[in-house]
Every structure is written in C-alpha cells, then in structure tokens.
Amino acid sequence: MKKYTDQGKADTRSGFGAGLAELGRTNPEVVVLCADLIGSLKIQEFIDENPERFFQIGVAEANMMGIAAGLTIGGKIPFTGTFANFSTGRVYDQIRQSIAYSGKNVKICASHAGITLGEDGATHQILEDIGLMKMLPGMTVINPCDFNQTKAATIAIADYQGPVYLRFGRPKVANFITDNIPFEIGKGIVLNPGTDITIAATGHLVWEALQAAEVLESEGIYAEVINIHTIKPLDTELLVSSVQKTGCIVSAEEHNYLGGLGESISAILAMEIPTPQEFVATKDTFGESGTPAQLMEKYSLNKNAIIIACKKVIDRK
C-alpha cells in the first residue's frame, strides 16, 4: 500500500484562494467576481493585490453569471465565487444560456459544496450540483480532493479555454497530494494500484478511500484507489482498464447518487464493460444541520461506508 501523509488539515476553499492569488500575479486577464462571500471563498489575497480586477456583485448571483459571460467578450477570464448551491441551481438558466450554450470562458467556482458545510443545514447543502453541471453540453466539471489539488486545479483551469465548474468545500480535510502528483484536467490518478476492487473517489472522499484501502489490505483485499478529480470529461480509459483487472467498483462522492460521479461511471461501464458497482453517495435525500463528521457518519460517506460497499460489491463479482 502506497503511503500518503496528511500534511495538515486544510480547507479546499483556501486552496482555491491560494490558486487565485497566484493567478493574480501570473495572468493579467484573470478577473474575479463575488456575490457577497469574499471571506467564505478566501479571495481576499487576490483582492488586496488586484483591486481593479475584482468585482463585488452583491447578493445577485444571476447578474454575476451574466456579467461574467460579458467579461469574456473583452478577453477576460472571469472566476465567479459563491456557494455551490448559489453557483448552480439558483442560476442554472443563466449558466445554460449565457455561458454554456454561448461557449463563454467562465470559471464557476463553488465553495461549501455538499453536506459537510455542516451546521447551516439543507438550504445550503447542495448534493445535486455535479449532476446539474455535468448535464450541460461543453461544461467541464472538476471536484478536487484536497487543498493542494484545489490550488493546482484553480491554476489549471485558467489556461483551459471553455466553461468550467470547480467544486470545493468548507471543512478542513487531509492535505496529502504532493508536487509529484501533477494535476491534469480529465486525467484520473491511480493513487494506489490494486487487483481486487477499484475505488473511484472524488473530493475529500479520496482520503477516506485511501484509509479504507489500508484496512482492506490488512484483511487481504487489494484495492485500486483512483482519484477522479475531473468528473467531466471522465477518464473512461483509466476506469475501464482498472475494472478489467479488478472486476468490480465502488464510487465515492459527497453528492446524490443520482447525477453524481457514480452515475457517470456506471453509464460508461454499461457501454464498455458491464461491472458490479456500489455507490457511496447520498441516497436521494436532503441533508441537515450537524458537524461534518457527524453528517459523514449519518449519511454513510466515510471510510467505514467505503469498506462496507467494497465487501458488498466483491461478493457480487
């Protein structure tokens, strides 16, 4: 089992802020828009260094998406920042028409995704955003796993031409991706090679998957852990070659199983190589208030849930 070290818990939204600050220094076309959530999105450093390239829109997300689309027409690369809920469902039609259908180079950056924003409760805990965004033709959907990968992804999407949905979160999670694991849009990363089962995880459930793999290995089960940071376009080749070897798969994500990564995987496997699959994901439910750890336990989104799913799917081989 490959060893990964948690370099210290950090929130992925701060990875976004760090990436944005770097872009502010390196790419003069990058502009940032925010709908009254500067602190939550960790973009103060960019603002301090580039006040003329920052636009406080106020609590008006629809207008923010439209303005971002317009800014691309002058060659700018707009990054919009608000919570995932208000970055997607609230402004779906604006994204659909003014950004996706219009092919605009807007980076929709969404913090506080999923259930682990915690105490604010279900009004703010979107578990449907990946599905909403992946259904839009031409939209790239990225959900990095830790601080370092979120920073790398933030920088990478500025160089990519086209609309992107970048999803990250509020809680402090393990930070373990090192510089020798480069980020490439659309390319999954095999973090641990294995022969008995494939675990394809996204977001901070990648760390949970690695912890699960360790436990499984101690029981003689060798899990291949793949970090799928880009949900669309999905790294079909990597997933197919992995399940050809392992014969079964568990997908793990902080999202509804309907519309999430697992659903995308099952669709491509159904076409390429039908494979038994279990889903670690929320089961068509809204969230509720609680601490992130409590919620991950209650909604079966942690290491233990992954271990149970792995054993179940191995029995189905």
């Binding site: 502009v31 003329e52 390239r53 636009f55 829109i57 106020g58 008006a60 629809a62 207008n63 923010m64 998406m65 439209g66 303005i67 971002a68 689309a69 317009g70 800014l71 691309t72 027409i73 002058g74 060659g75 700018k76 707009p78 039609d93 604006q94 659909r96 028409q97 003014s98 259908y101 219009s102 092919g103 605009k104």
Partner: protein, 281 residues
Amino acid sequence: MPDFNFLGKLISQVRRDILRMVHNVNSGHPGGSLGCTEFFIALYYEVMELKDDFDMNGANEDLFFLSNGHISPVFYSVLARKGYFPVEELQTFRLIDSRLQGHPTTHEGLPGIRVASGSLGQGLSVAIGAAIAKKLNNDDKIVFTLMGDGELQEGQNWEAIMYAAGRKVDNLIATVDLNGKQIDGATEDVLPMGDISKKFAAFGWEVLILKEGNNLKYIIETLKLAQSKTGKGKPLVIIMHTEMGNGVDYMMHTHAWHGKAPNDELLEVALSQNPETLGDY
C-alpha cells in the same frame, strides 16, 4: 446628415425580410421585429462605430447585445444587409442546419452575434460585463443593448439595473422597447409595471424618453444624445415607445402578432404595404 432616402428603402426591405422569413417557416416573432426595425437601422447604420470584420472580442468598436432574442428576424435581416453574412442566408431562418436559429446564438458561429439570448432577462447583465471589460482594456467604445418591456418582469434585470448604477457603468446605453404588449396581452394586464422611466431613474440611471420610437430621425437623435452623455458616471437608458407590428396595418395596435406568422394571403397584404427596394433575398 443621414441619407434618409436610402434608410427609408432599407426599412421597407428589412420589413419584407422579416415578413418573408417568418412566413416561410410559419413561426417566429414579427410583431416586435417590425416595431424595432427603425431602431436597428439607426443603430447599425448611423450610430455604432463598427469594424469591417467580425470578431468575438469586439475590441475598439461599439457592441450590441439583443436581450429579447425572439425578435431575431430584424436582427438577422439588419446584420445580413449590413454585410455580416450573405443576405441569401436569411432564407434558412429556423430551418434545420441553419446558423439562423429561432433565437440568436453564438453556437453556430453566425457573425454579429456575441451571446445567445431568448430566455429573457439576461442581456443587460452580459452587456454590463462587456462594458466593464472595455473599461479594463482602456477601450473607449460603447456597449448597447435592447430589452423588451415585458422582459423587465424578469428579476435579473433589476439586479443588473442596480449594479450598473451602483458601479457607474457609464459606457452603456440600454434601450427598452416599450410597446406595451407581450404574449398574453397588454403588459398593463399581464403584470402592471408602473412607470418604467421613474423606476430606472430611482435606481440611478440617466433616462431619455423617446416618444416616437418608430421615427428614424428621432431615434438617431436620441441615440446620439445618449452617446454624448456617456462617461459621466451614470448608465443610460432610452425608454423607446414603439408600435408592435409597425408598418403592417393589421399587425399594429394588437399583441396578436407577437409570435405568429402571416398566412399566404396576409403576407401579400403586408408586402404590398412595404415595397421591394434593395432586392429580396
């Protein structure tokens, strides 16, 4: 001094284009298109400074965004007559494999279009973004947009109206096509909106009222007056009173032709009121 003789011929020809386009596919929106024909001709032939070749970024030229995308027939006709694409292409309007989709889009690569519109209420925000980009790029040209009056029922407009004034987006000239009609009837019956001019003024916009929005000379004068008022810390709006269906007697004074094409017989009546001048497509 504008060549009103030529521009008058153009108006007649564009009206014919609109009528023939919607008739050909028995769908589309002639009413609002006809009501804004003079506006489009004023804008594209007398007001905007445009480069010869189209590129998406539109640096160092004026830009126009159509928010109420359903009046695509007039937009397409004027773009074609202006030389953005072949006039013959107008005959593909709303047909399979056409660049002239029912509502304007960038998706098919039609020159002259910079954003998709059709789902209402989004154009002003996009225009604001493009205007801000011009400021960032030290580009002193102006951004124009046209909105329908019924469209102002969409809440996003009011977010944008608040923002443009609050942030002094003063290189922006919006025009509201105030024809008082929408699909289901008079705007006053569908949803009374009160005094649109006062609402814009209350939000901090400079408001110009154009009572005769189908009078080419007055439209040109008002747009040029608006241009002269840019750069003074306030966004500008022209409240342009128009007659839906203008130029075709039976389409005027009713909302019936908002989104309905004339049959063969009524097409001939309409065309007889708008003689061919510059050549049908």
